[in-house]
Every structure is written in C-alpha cells, then in structure tokens.
C-alpha cells in the first residue's frame, strides 16, 4: 500500500456510524427534455464526509439541492434525519447547514451583523464572534463580505452554515477557485467539523480533495451514480481489473514545493 493510501487510512479513522442520516431513493429531476438526475440512490451516515464527484453537468449540484430542499423533487424520496424533504422542505432547510456554490449576502452589512441576522432567521442564539473565531475570521468581524478574499468568503459561508449548529452540512464545491493555502485552510476546517461529529456532504472537482476529506464518495456522470464506496475501496477495485499506472512516486509534489516556498499560512486580503 502506498504512503498516500496509508495517510488516507489514518486520516479517515472511522467516526461514522452505520445509522443513516440522509436516505436518498430513486431520485429524478428533469429540466424540460434534459434528464438531469436519473434514479439516484445513496445514504449518508451520521458523522461521515460524503463526496459527490463528477464532471460539469453530471448532476452533483442538482442532487445536492434536492436533498437540501432547495429544489423541488420530480420523483423519488429523500429523508433527512427521518423528515421527508419533499413534504417539509422549510423544516429540513432550517435544520441543516448549507454553503451554496456561490453564496451571496446582503451588501453593507458586516460579518458580525450578517451572522446575527442569520441567527435570528434560524431562531438560534447569537454566537457570531465564536463562529468567526472558529473559521479564522474574528479579526475581520467589522468588514463587509465584498472586501474578503475568495478563501475568506468561503470560510464565512461555512460560518453562516454553522449558525444553527447543524448536525449535517452541505458544501457545494467549497474550494473551487481558491489558492493552495486557502484550500488547505478550508480542508482543516472541514476536518475539524467532521471530528466534532457532524455529517458533511460535499461536491468537488478535485479528486485529491475527495481522497483527503471523504469517507465515501459517489462518482456521477450524466445524472447517474457510476460508483459509490470509500476512496480506498474504489482504488482497490480498479487495481483488481489489472489497472496499472506507470508513475514515479515522488516523496513530494509541486504543491508541496509551492507551499514550502510561499508558506502554509493563510493569506488574508
């Protein structure tokens, strides 16, 4: 087993339980003549990080938004913690944390004011400063979202998703467009949330990210799940077919060089 797989096994010490928090059955969605999601079924266990992977247009965001109660479901069923999403979408949305692919917030409100507003919308206690502290934005509490960098905006989106202290978080492409430092910082944050026992469903284009963060992944294309398992099991399955890649395993890669030169600390601003 390679060093990378060893690291993965160590990283994903099983915090997940067998209890399913999200149950998706035969989910379907069409936009006119385009069949975007075709009979998708999967479960998300309590305490696991579940990844939806796939190329653009594979249906990742559509599935995510149907599970969140953000999009109407054409056919199939989704339950979140036993609640039927199609029947009670507002109730489900109020109990989960959502960081949209492109989260936008009111302009001219500061981070702390926005978190206060969202706490009021969820009917939860205002713990804005603690939340900002957790995502490393405490010093920027009086700034407005538009003045933040991309990575800071993503971390703020996660802070907003945590306002109602949800057991289940949905992160839609949380690291797209971020520099390596910002991406690593967000990985650390997601890792901490997982270790707190929260379940996380995320979509990503980055296989390295999925391998690093996810307990299980579903690989999608054309609205269908083509494979679903742990990253390790999927790799082993591939190797069983006789797959062989002629690679030189370097003890480091270009990203390691980049981070070594520019530093791992997050760039603010």
């Amino acid at each position: 087993m390679s060093a990378r797989i060893d690291a993965y096994v160590e990283n994903t010490t099983d915090l997940a339980t067998d209890q399913a928090l999200v149950i998706v059955r035969d989910l379907e969605k069409s936009y006119g003549t385009v069949h975007a999601v075709r009979g998708v079924s999967f479960e998300v266990k309590r305490g696991e990080v579940f990844g939806l992977l796939g190329p653009n247009g594979a249906g990742k965001t559509t599935i995510l938004e149907m599970v969140e109660g953000m999009l109407p479901i054409d056919r199939g069923t989704v339950t979140v913690d036993g609640v039927d999403v199609a029947r009670y979408p507002e109730r489900v949305r109020g109990s989960i944390g959502i960081a949209l692919q492109k989260s936008a917030f009111f302009e001219r409100l500061t981070l702390i004011e926005l978190l206060g507003l969202f706490a009021d919308l969820y009917g939860k206690e205002r713990e804005a400063e603690q939340l900002l502290d957790r995502v490393g934005l405490k010093d920027l509490a009086r700034r407005q979202v538009k003045t933040l960098s991309g990575g800071q905006q993503q971390r703020f989106a996660v802070a907003v998703a945590l306002v109602n202290d949800p057991p289940l978080l949905f992160l839609d492409e949380p690291t797209t467009g971020l520099d390596p430092q910002a991406r690593r910082s967000l990985w650390d944050l997601i890792d901490r949330l997982r270790r707190e026992g929260r379940s996380i469903v995320l979509t990503t284009h980055y296989m390295e990210e999925a391998q690093h963060l996810c307990d299980r992944v579903a690989i999608l294309d054309s609205g269908r799940i083509l494979a679903l398992d742990t990253p390790l099991a999927l790799v082993q399955e591939l190797l069983k077919t006789g797959f062989h890649k002629d690679v030189v395993v370097w003890p480091g890669d270009l990203e390691d060089v980049y981070l070594h030169i520019t530093g791992k600390q997050l760039r603010e601003g």
Binding site: E90, G94, L100, S103, R108, L109, L121
Partner: protein, 357 residues
C-alpha cells in the same frame, strides 16, 4: 411565532442599516426632488419683485403723508385706486395687497387729538402680500409715532383672500411627492428585490427555511418607513420654504397609503419575475400608463374612465385634486379606504407570488 417575529424584526433592522449606509442608492430620487424644491424656491420666491400694493384712499387726501411713506418703502410698488377697482385687481392677482384708508383718517376727536382709525388690509394668501404684512405694519407704526407723535391711533386689521391654486407650490408639491412614491415605491422596490434575486442573496435566505411572507413583510416595512420619512421630509421642506395651502396631514396620509400600494406592486413584480432587467421593464410598463391615466383622468372617454376609476392611481389623483381644492381629511376618506384595500391585496399577492429564485 416568536421566532418569526424575531426574523421579521432582524430583517427589517438590517434593511434599515443598508438604506442608511447607502444613502445615494436608496434616496437619490428623494434628494433630487428636494433639490428641485429648492430650485423652485429660488425661481418663484427670489427677493426682487416687490409687493404690489393698491391703496384706496377714502380720506380725500388726508393720508397723503402715510401713502408717501408707503411709496418710500423700496420693496412696495404702490398704486392708488377706488375700492371697487382695487378689489378686482386683488382678486385677479394683479396686486398682492389692498390697503383701505377709511374716511375718518386724519379727523380729530372732541379733545382735538387724532381720532383712532383702523386700516383695512386684505392680502392674497400665499403671495408676497402675506409676507410683507409686518413691513406694512412697521411703516404705519412709524408714521403714527413720527408724524402724529401721539399714543398709537392707527390700527391695522388684516384679512386673507384665499383663492384656489394660491401658488405654484400647491400644484407642484403633490406632483413631486407622487413622483417620489412611484419612483421609490414601485421602481426601486422592484429593482432592489430582483437584484437580490439575481445575485443569489435570496437563495441564501431561502436556505434558512424562513417563510417568504416574513421576508416580503420585512422588506415592505423598511421600505415603507423610508418612503414615509422621505414623504414627510419633502412636505416639511415645502412648508418651510413656501406658503403651502394644502392640508399637509391629509396629504401625508394619502401619500403614505399610496406608497404602500406602489410598494406592494413593486414587490409583487420583483417577487414573481426572476430577471431584474425584465422586472424593471414590467414595473415601468405599469408605472407609465398609471401616470398617463392620472394626468388625463378628466379627458378619458367615459367607457375607459368607468374602468380606470377603480385603479389605485385614480384614488390618488382624486384625493390630491380634492386636497388641492382645500378639502380636508373627511373628504378623502373614501380614497384612503380604497387605497388601503388595494395595498392589502397587493401585499398579500406579493407574498403569494414570491419566488426565491
């Protein structure tokens, strides 16, 4: 329920903060109209043209010195006429102020002292005649003290001549505030709301699971409060700058209820239509015919007028016309009730047709 009230309150306060922090965007039309008001003040009320006095001298020349004193005041243009001619000049607006010097002027009492007399002064309300009354009284007092050197013997009794359309401001003011309520109530509400939709702000709010009605109501409350404040500010500025002869309290009530109607329309349009440019175009295509109907209400064919009279803009026009003719709150109660009904229907519709994305 408590959570909904909390969400409503928090959203309303947040909207206020955003308005205050972006005064140019939220109040540009209002500020432009205030500037317009000041410009009108300069154009219509600049120092310069004098107060036009017509003097009716019934004293057969005994008041020549007093009339001379009045002529010596640089801001008075004095002419003399008979009482009948003077009243015609006053009612036609050719003079601002009529001074009638009684026949007893200059006569002495039994002790040989000047007999007390009263000058009858009639001024056109809302003109320079009204504002120059203190100067007229000061001139008469000066004559009393310097020429007669007696305890005051000449008193001045005044009466206002009220005429419809006392001044340009009485025409201008309802138009300015009506423009503001259509501009900020309908157009700005539609634009802001649909901008939130297109940028994804509303999707993020949707993700919290709050009720659309709470969001619409909070937005309506903050916009309405801002609109009411702006309307009040325009009316206060107008009353400070000009002599306004409208029942301002009734006008304010009519306008804020009308604002609520246009706000309801704006929110319904923006809540229903996704594309902000399309929402603005639809808002314009509703606003401009309404302005057209308001302007030409008297000239519309009876068949069309039978239908348009139930439109909210017709009640606004009718209420303004009545207030312009000197009516008070009681006269516009029916208009207010109909407008309130329209506002309630439109705000409920805005909550129903609202779409987060």
């Amino acid at each position: 329920m408590n959570n909904q009230i909390r969400a409503y309150g928090s959203l309303t306060i947040s909207n206020f903060k955003m308005y205050v922090r972006n005064p140019v965007a939220s109040s540009s039309l209002f500020l432009a109209l205030l500037v317009l008001l000041f410009l009108f003040k300069i154009v219509f009320d600049s120092p310069g043209p004098h107060t036009r006095l017509v003097v009716v001298d019934a004293s057969n020349g005994a008041a020549a010195i007093l009339i001379g004193d009045l002529r010596s005041v640089s801001s008075f243009d004095v002419t003399e006429a008979s009482e009948a001619s003077a009243r015609v000049l006053l009612s036609q607006g050719k003079v601002d102020l009529e001074v009638v010097i009684p026949p007893s002027f200059g006569q002495q009492d039994s002790s040989g002292r000047p007999a007390p007399v009263s000058l009858e002064v009639t001024y056109r309300a809302g003109t320079a005649g009204e504002t120059s009354l203190p100067l007229l009284k000061a001139t008469v007092d000066s004559y009393d003290q310097n020429v007669l050197k007696e305890v005051p013997t000449i008193s001045v009794s005044t009466a206002a001549l009220h005429t419809r359309s006392a001044g340009p401001i009485d025409f201008l003011l309802p138009g300015i505030v009506a423009f503001n309520i259509i501009g900020s109530g309908l157009m700005l509400a539609a634009g802001t709301f649909s901008n939130y939709k297109s940028t994804g702000v509303l999707r993020r709010l949707k993700a919290t699971g709050i009720s659309p009605s709470i969001f619409v109501l909070a937005h309506a409350t903050s916009s309405f409060a801002m609109g009411a404040l702006q309307t009040a500010a325009i009316l206060v500025a107008a009353s400070l700058l000009f002599s306004v002869h409208l029942d301002l309290v009734s006008l304010f009530l009519l306008l804020v209820v009308a604002y609520l109607v246009f706000l309801g329309m704006g929110l319904a349009i923006a809540g229903w239509i996704k594309d902000p440019q399309r929402a603005t175009a639809v808002a314009q295509s509703i606003a401009f015919p309404m302005i057209f109907i308001a302007l030409l209400s008297a000239a519309l064919p009876p068949g069309i007028a039978r239908i348009t009279k139930y439109l909210p803009v017709s009640y606004v026009t009718d209420g303004m016309q009545q207030l312009g003719q000197g009516a008070n709150l009681a006269a516009i109660e029916v208009d207010l009730v109909w407008l309130l009904a329209w506002a309630i229907v439109l705000l409920i519709a805005a909550g129903r047709v609202f779409r987060w994305d």
